[in-house]
């Protein structure tokens, strides 16, 4: 596309009483303004279903608050369960925004433009849902104040609280700043929206008019945030890994855990982004989203996912070959439990369908299409959730000192089977993430309007059909 429009071109012709479709030529601006409208019937059913699941999860949480952690399957030995697994999983997929948006932005990769906001959204919402999992795991949320009152600077738990908080603040800032020009575009079409939306867009646009000074400030802010958010994200998952790695337990006490977790996070983050892209490519068809998110995006991200997949297989192999070779007593017990004990099914499902099968689907040219990439992405995220389960539970089920009379991980208190309360809260968390993401996509443009237009301006400028001053964006 070689034509583009700017805010200044729109204003004189746009009558506030006319529908957007009548005043805007076909293009990303019109498509995205149309997309932020109210829900259709199917959307309402989806939102109602998600709210029902969240409501059920909330009831389960109230039940847990009333009866304490005895409502869960956790105990003295298996003291971490699926809440911590969910926490690690959500922190993991939050790396989608860091990699796809920040790294590709810093390296000037142009094809990232239509997918950056989706990626940044995943980061922010995964953190908003994942971080409270630790509080749910504590049983008594009021004890959170103890982190402030009695926190030990030398504890990885405190480092985790600090790094996740820092990452969450940075992610929200990094999600918001690139949205400012789009907020101004929506503000300028205010008559088409309800009063609360008009207020919201006006407030979030913070007086953006697109002056050279504002563009300069915005470019600087985005560039700085894109650079700083990368080490922050890497540090967060490293610190999450240290919670395990700095504990002298078989399967946890490993120097490789930092990079292993970071690669795992990027791996599941890209897979989550590809899943989200497929969903929006299907759900936002009426808004011509396939003009912006193309097969090319899927294939490029698919190849990136394949590369990270292979790296993750390498790390996994590295991890188990090291402890398997020395075969210390505690390690041997863990490996038995994992490879042909009670967690063997989970381990091999993770390895085969979560690592090797996706790699095959992504590597073979005839399966590297949207359907194949979607299947691989879903399998990867299921596999990565199982992987976190395998990291957390079997190690706790292989204590260095076993309780009296218990020497089998099949029996209590070393056996762990999550209760309905834990599953319900988990389902509520996943539904909460999906709901936040869907609501976001109906309030804000899921594809960055100004970044697409800037790209089009750049193309136009390069062939001499548009103003040479066209803003290319950061």
């Amino acid at each position: 596309m070689t034509t583009s429009i700017t805010v200044d071109e729109i204003r004189p012709t746009a009558s506030l009483a006319e529908p957007v479709a009548q005043v805007l030529p076909p293009g990303v601006r019109r498509d995205m303004i149309d997309s932020v409208g109210p829900f259709k019937t199917r959307g309402k059913i989806l939102v109602a279903s998600l709210l029902a699941v969240i409501g059920w999860g909330f009831i389960a949480y109230l039940y847990q608050l009333r009866y304490g952690l005895s409502a869960t399957a956790m105990g003295n030995y298996i003291s971490w369960g699926i809440y911590i697994i969910n926490f690690v999983f959500f922190i993991g997929i939050s790396h989608a925004g860091t990699l796809v948006s920040a790294i590709l932005r810093v390296t000037g990769t142009e094809w990232r433009r239509p997918i950056t906001r989706m990626a940044e959204g995943i980061t922010a919402f995964a953190l908003l849902v994942g971080a409270p999992m630790v509080i749910i795991d504590m049983g008594r949320p009021d004890r959170l104040q103890n982190v402030v009152l009695f926190g030990r600077v030398q504890s990885p738990i405190l480092w985790d609280v600090l790094s996740v908080t820092t990452y969450m603040a940075g992610s929200l800032l990094y999600l918001y700043i690139p949205m400012i020009p789009d907020m101004a575009i929506l503000r300028d079409h205010g008559a088409h929206f309800k009063p609360w939306r008009r207020w919201l867009y006006r407030t979030l646009a913070i007086g953006w008019t697109g002056t050279p000074q504002q563009k300069h400030r915005l470019e600087r802010a985005i560039a700085v945030m894109a650079v700083i958010i990368i080490p922050v994200a890497v540090s967060v998952h490293t610190v999450v890994s240290w919670i395990f790695g700095m504990t002298v337990r078989p399967g946890w006490h490993s120097t490789i855990f930092g990079p292993y977790f970071v690669v795992g996070a990027i791996f599941s983050g890209i897979a989550a982004l590809l899943t989200a892209m497929t969903f929006f490519a299907w759900a936002f068809r009426p808004f011509h989203i396939n003009r912006y998110i193309t097969t090319d995006h899927f294939k490029k991200l698919g190849l990136l996912l394949l590369a990270v997949n292979i790296i993750y297989i390498y790390f996994t192999f590295n991890e188990y070959i090291t402890i398997g070779y020395s075969y210390e007593e505690a390690d041997a017990q863990l490996m038995t439990v994992l490879f042909h004990g009670p967690y063997a099914l989970m381990f091999w499902v993770m390895a085969v369908t979560g690592l090797f099968l996706p790699a095959l689907l992504l590597a073979l040219p005839w399966t590297r299409n949207i359907k194949g990439i979607l299947i691989a992405s879903i399998l990867i995220n299921i596999g990565m959730w199982l992987k976190r389960y395998i990291i957390v539970v079997p190690t706790l089920a292989s204590p260095l000192m076993t309780p009296d009379g218990v020497n089998s991980p099949y029996t209590a208190p070393l056996a762990y089977l999550p209760t309905w309360v834990e599953w319900s809260i988990t389902a509520g968390a996943f539904a909460g993430f999906a709901l936040l993401y869907i609501l976001f996509s109906k309030v804000f443009p899921i594809v960055s309007i100004w970044e697409i237009e800037a790209d089009q301006n750049k193309d136009a400028a390069s062939v001499g059909t548009n103003s040479p001053q066209a803003w290319e964006g950061p």
């Binding site: 600077v153 007086g207 700095m246």
Partner: protein, 183 residues
């Protein structure tokens, strides 16, 4: 909401049933008169608690199960259970590694567990706790990262890292603020 209503009804039902119930016999749940004496003794180099259980007349009680406990922050730590001999005595081994309270003393509670009619009768003894592990050892020449007081290098590293990141956020926030003001 539903949970709150259920809780309210449960509370109301409990209060109601209490009010309507016949007045309870105040002596019904009181343990039968039992006397416990506890002494600390050492036999064959083993630290023991000698518990003697008698009735109100001073007659030794045989077959009474007694337990020794230490009150901790989140409940009572069981340190042993024994049954009395025909002379009313029972010996409970005293672990050597129990750290004392801040006062340097260890307060041990001995309580009758069985039979039911005597359960609840108790006595207390104060003993010196085990020496605090490592207290008499010279301090290590270095301080580990997980030591009770964080080393300065760790605090400084964390402060620099966090300060750097949040200062950068501050700079970005300033840019957004200028953007809002159009400067």
């Amino acid at each position: 909401m539903r949970l709150a209503i259920i809780t309210l009804f449960t509370l109301a039902a409990t209060l109601g049933s209490t009010a309507l119930a016949a007045p309870a016999d105040p002596d019904a749940n009181r343990p039968a008169a039992t006397q416990l004496t506890v002494e600390r003794t050492v036999e064959d180099g083993v630290d023991l608690l000698l518990v003697t259980v008698t009735d109100s007349d001073g007659k030794p009680l045989e077959g009474v199960t007694v337990g020794a406990y230490i009150k901790r922050q989140f409940g009572e730590l069981v340190i042993g259970r024994e049954t009395t001999f025909d002379d009313g005595t029972a010996y409970i081994a005293l672990p050597k590694d129990l750290p004392p309270a801040k006062s340097g003393r260890l307060s041990i509670l001995v309580r009758v567990i069985e039979p039911q009619d005597r359960a609840g009768s108790q006595a207390q003894i104060e003993v010196t706790g085990a020496p605090v592990a490592g207290a008499d050892e010279p301090p290590l020449p270095y301080r580990a990262l997980w030591a009770s007081h964080a080393p300065f290098s760790l605090i400084a590293t964390l402060a620099v890292l966090l300060g750097g990141v949040w200062s950068t956020y501050g700079f970005v926030f300033y840019q957004v603020r200028c953007l809002r003001k159009g400067i």
